[in-house]
């Protein structure tokens, strides 16, 4: 379908939705209706193309796809859908994707109503002056509460009830109305195709054959094939070997001008050279201005990653190198542990990012790893005035040599219903948070702002928040500053031996209860062995908590009924597989999962 080349026939939009509200299914319907993808090619939920994304039901990477729709005026419009990640770990990527659009669909499940998670992205979109098109999805469900949800939306964004589109991703009802609304209500992009080039990079992906592919939105000027380009913030120059638009596959084009969304291939092999939020400009353009809002994404959480089998250390390095190719936010360097041997200290955007990396190592590289207790990055100043960055508890100098330690604080926003204020305040105070602000956004939505230590949200904060607010609290944060703190190193001992991989830096006031909880959790996680196991938490030489696991007395099963040897063999094979996922610490078998699970204290 020939699209009109004029900017006034382009619409750029994203979709804001809570997990499970049907974003992926509805996106698929849009692609199907516009003929962008045939029903046969439609692997359920086309946009989430990592297996992991489909399973977790969340979008991890941003994606973009172009479709065409012929409107009532007989003109064919180009619609660029820019999908956004759905988790606070990736909020910077979300903000860049939103910055690339003029409008957004606010998708709300008719059976569930507005969920808090949607709200922070919605406000991000409103802050970026995006035109919001509210859509009530799943109207075909018997439990749909259309009137109630309509009221909620009107309450939240102050629109007219008539402006809300009713749709069903399942039946396809309302899909055409959505397409028409996008054309009617979302403004066409503005910009000057003849002006100096300014294109915003909102995502990049790694292709083993083509290298790194950057996704961008042109704000001004035109990007042409074979044109020398410059990435403004890194200062690096390349040649645009290929530019094009994103459909189900990449479609090369000679040029893309202001208002368009597309991709560029420059032969770069390392994703770290392409930074989300950077601006593409033309080489030689001395006056080139970056698009506002670029930030260097910094790892927030650090943890050791170790191979189960020490012989796999080099394979692990190779796998992490490959992962880094399409995930520039992952950083790592070698380290060693007495308990675990050789491994890597890795930096992540957050806990979900950590879990994703661990999962991808297992799925894509068949690499089973042990992850140690995660920590944030501390700053220590010694009495001699040396300044040290502490990314692992074992780097912490002896307390007698320390002048002071500082820990990172964040500015945290929580949006919730008024009835949950009390319990959320208590949670945040328990986490050493300081309430800075309390603002009613509507009569039923309140925004709380806290300054909190980042370390306190690393472990179980998010799960806690979700459960005390019954899912009705959105959480967003940004790094704030470093503040002095009374931190101590807590060690965990198994039968008297220090397990360095389980050491943690904790606030002194929390050490004892944290130690007790970790010992208790380890008691659940460690399988019984043929001897008694003492689990202790200690600060220096002082034991602050203790648990005991009694010895295993027997492990022998009865007969093989009627010569069924296979069943028993398979049972023992399973037992053996479980053991393969264990790590020997001294004489004690520690399951791989224990190192991470130990922190899920409330489960």
């Amino acid at each position: 379908m020939p699209a009109m080349n004029d900017m006034q026939y382009i619409r750029n939009f994203s979709v804001i939705a809570h997990i499970d509200h049907g974003k992926s299914t509805l996106s698929d319907r849009l692609l199907e209706f516009t003929g962008t993808v045939g029903q046969r090619e439609l692997q359920a939920q086309t946009l989430d193309n990592m297996d992991l994304e489909r399973e977790k039901g969340i979008t991890i990477k941003s994606h973009a796809i172009q479709m065409y729709h012929q409107y009532k005026d007989k003109k064919t419009y180009t619609l660029n859908l820019i999908d956004t990640p759905g988790h606070v770990d990736f909020s910077y990527e979300v903000s860049r994707s939103i910055a690339a659009c003029e409008g957004a669909l606010l998708l709300v499940d008719a059976t569930q109503g507005i969920q808090a998670q949607t709200i922070s992205n919605l406000y991000l979109a409103i802050d970026n002056d995006l035109e919001i098109i509210p859509v009530i999805n799943k109207i075909d469900m018997p439990s749909a509460m259309i009137e109630e949800v309509t009221e909620q939306i009107v309450d939240l964004i102050g629109c007219d009830p008539d402006e809300i589109v009713h749709a069903s991703g399942k039946t396809g009802e309302g899909v055409e109305n959505i397409l028409n609304a996008i054309i009617e209500r979302i403004p066409a992009p503005e910009g000057d195709p003849e002006a100096p080039l300014q294109a915003l990079i909102f995502d990049s992906v790694f292709n083993p054959f083509r290298g790194v592919i950057a996704y961008f939105r042109v704000f001004n000027g035109t990007i042409r094939k074979k044109q020398p380009i410059r990435f403004h913030n890194t200062g690096k120059e390349y040649v645009a070997e290929e530019v094009g638009i994103l459909q189900m596959d990449q479609v090369p084009k000679p040029a893309l001008s202001a208002g368009n969304v597309g991709y560029v291939i420059t032969g770069i092999k390392d994703t770290r050279e392409i930074k989300v939020g950077d601006t593409i400009t033309a080489v030689g353009d001395q006056e080139a201005q970056p698009i506002q809002g670029f930030e260097e994404v910094k790892p927030m959480v650090f943890a050791g990653i170790y191979p189960i089998d020490n012989d796999d250390f080099e394979d692990l390095r190779e796998s992490l190198n490959k992962l880094q190719l399409n995930d520039a936010s992952l950083v790592f360097e070698p380290e060693s542990s007495v308990a675990l041997g050789f491994g890597f200290r890795c930096g992540f955007l957050g806990m979900l990012h950590l879990e994703i990396i661990q999962e991808r190592l297992s799925r894509e590289f068949d690499m089973e790893v042990i992850t140690t207790i995660p920590n944030v990055s501390y700053q220590a100043t010694t009495k001699k005035g040396e300044f040290l960055i502490i990314n692992t508890p074992n780097d912490l100098p002896d307390p007698t040599l320390l002048d002071f330690i500082e820990e990172p604080y964040i500015d945290a926003q929580i949006i919730t219903k008024p009835e949950f204020i009390g319990s959320i305040m208590k949670l945040c105070m328990d986490k050493r948070g300081i309430l800075m602000k309390q603002v009613y956004l509507t009569t039923t939505r309140v925004e709380l702002t806290f300054h909190m230590p980042l370390a306190e949200i690393v472990f179980d904060f998010y799960d806690n928040l979700k459960s005390i607010s019954r899912g009705y609290a959105s959480f967003d944060y940004a790094p704030l500053d470093y503040r002095r703190s009374d931190l101590v190193k807590m060690d965990i001992k198994l039968n008297g031996e220090n397990v360095d991989a389980l050491s943690a830096l904790v606030h002194r006031s929390k050490a004892e209860s944290f130690g007790r909880q970790i010992c208790k959790k380890l008691k659940e996680l460690l399988p019984r062995q043929q001897f008694v196991i003492a689990i202790q938490a200690a600060i220096g030489a002082k034991i602050i908590a203790r648990e005991t696991i009694s010895a295993l007395r027997k492990d022998v099963t009865a007969k093989c009924y009627g010569g069924d040897i296979s069943r028993k063999r398979k049972l023992l094979e399973k037992q053996k597989k479980g053991k393969k996922k264990m790590r020997q610490v001294g004489k004690i078998q520690v399951p791989q999962k224990a190192f991470l699970e130990v922190l899920k204290l409330n489960k």
Partner: protein, 375 residues
């Protein structure tokens, strides 16, 4: 040497610890027997060239078969196998089925060994397990068997039963001694999920002895058996001289056996295991069409090694160094490496080229075997 196992998948009622999918209804009994007769005629090649030494009727409850059923089965077997060299023909029995008529019905057949599902000599235990028999019936059955022309017999016992004290367990062993059982199979109770017993324990209507008590039952049993001249020749089996179970030993020693009936398992003595479909109606229907409904698996060298280690560690003869090096030096090395910590903690000992579990090691047979597994 080879054996035939015949599975009779019916019970009068289901024991509380049983997780088998078996039928408590006799509806298909005649159909299943007819199908087994036909299966005999469909499978004579499986044991070709191997002398038939043992037959074993297991279940379920083979003692629900009538003497006519047994006669039909033996006639059919005779038509396809030579029964001249049979050493052992065993029938598993529930004590309440063992009547003078039952014993008389089997005289004149090749049956020469009875396996009696006693489980406990206490009515309270038997009721708690939902067994169909009583203590009185146990003694009657033993009396009849001892006066029959059977060459040997055995009884099953379970320890670690709900509420079982050491006194209760020792008195079960004294009863066993009193009736001169030439062979005993004794198992620790395993509570499988989705059984009535599991449910009662979850609901705290029954209380199991803790692992320490169950371990003590096993230790007491081993001591008791040794003092009374029983040879502890397999982890759950004890025999007076000349009374080892020949058929069951063939499972543990890797010999060929053919399983007949729903859910029955077969092994070709080399590397093929197969098992019939468990479902009675499907089994009957397929056999009627001349087709044996089974699934099979081909064992790899690693599987064969794993099975060898798993079964031999349970035997008093143990794992032979020569057998392992016959499989390949890699297996020998692997085994030696994997068990070295257990040798150190004297759970297993090497003497005269055989590794054998010590009494302490017998409590951990599964763990030690799986440590040595290759996967």
């Amino acid at each position: 040497m080879s054996g035939i196992y015949i599975h009779i998948p019916f019970c009068k009622r289901k024991c509380h610890y049983c997780n088998f999918h078996l039928s408590a209804s006799m509806k298909y009994k005649d159909d299943v027997v007819a199908a087994i007769l036909k299966e005999i005629s469909l499978t004579p090649d499986f044991l070709k060239g191997k002398q038939l030494s043992t037959i074993y009727f297991g279940g379920g409850t083979p003692s629900i078969l009538s003497s006519e059923d047994f006669a039909l089965i033996f006639n059919q077997l005779e038509a396809h196998y030579s029964l001249d060299c049979l050493k052992e023909v065993t029938v598993e029995c529930n004590p309440d089925d063992v009547t003078p008529d039952f014993i008389r019905g089997l005289e004149g057949t090749p049956v020469n060994r009875y396996s009696l599902g006693v489980q406990s000599f206490y009515d309270g235990d038997l009721r708690a397990l939902n067994r169909t028999h009583t203590k009185k019936q146990v003694f009657q059955a033993i009396e009849l068997i001892r006066h029959s022309n059977a060459k040997s017999w055995t009884l099953d016992l379970i320890y670690g039963l709900p509420e079982m004290t050491m006194e209760r367990w020792m008195s079960n062993l004294q009863m066993t001694h009193a009736v001169d059982a030439p062979h005993i199979s004794a198992y620790a109770l395993t509570v499988e999920p989705r059984t009535a017993l599991y449910h009662f324990i979850q609901k705290r209507q029954l209380r199991l002895p803790d692992d320490g008590q169950v371990t003590a039952h096993f230790d007491a049993l081993m001591r008791w058996a040794g003092e009374r001249g029983y040879e502890h020749y397999e982890i759950s089996n004890y025999a007076l001289r000349g009374h080892r179970a020949v058929h069951n030993s063939s499972y543990w020693e890797g010999q060929a056996y053919l399983g007949l009936g729903p859910g029955a398992h077969s092994f070709d003595g080399a590397f093929i295991r197969r098992w019939n479909v468990r479902n009675n109606p499907i089994y009957v229907r397929k056999i009627a069409r001349g087709e044996v409904p089974y699934t099979s698996e081909m064992l790899t060298p690693d599987d064969l090694y794993n099975e060898y280690v798993m079964t031999r560690l349970r035997l008093s003869s143990g794992v032979s160094r020569m057998d392992l090096s016959g499989m390949g030096e890699r297996y020998l090395h692997r085994f030696e490496e994997a068990i070295s910590p257990h040798v150190e903690s004297t759970l297993i000992q090497l003497s005269e080229g055989h590794w054998r579990l010590t009494d302490a090691g017998k409590h951990f047979a599964d763990r030690i075997a799986s440590d040595a597994f290759i996967i």
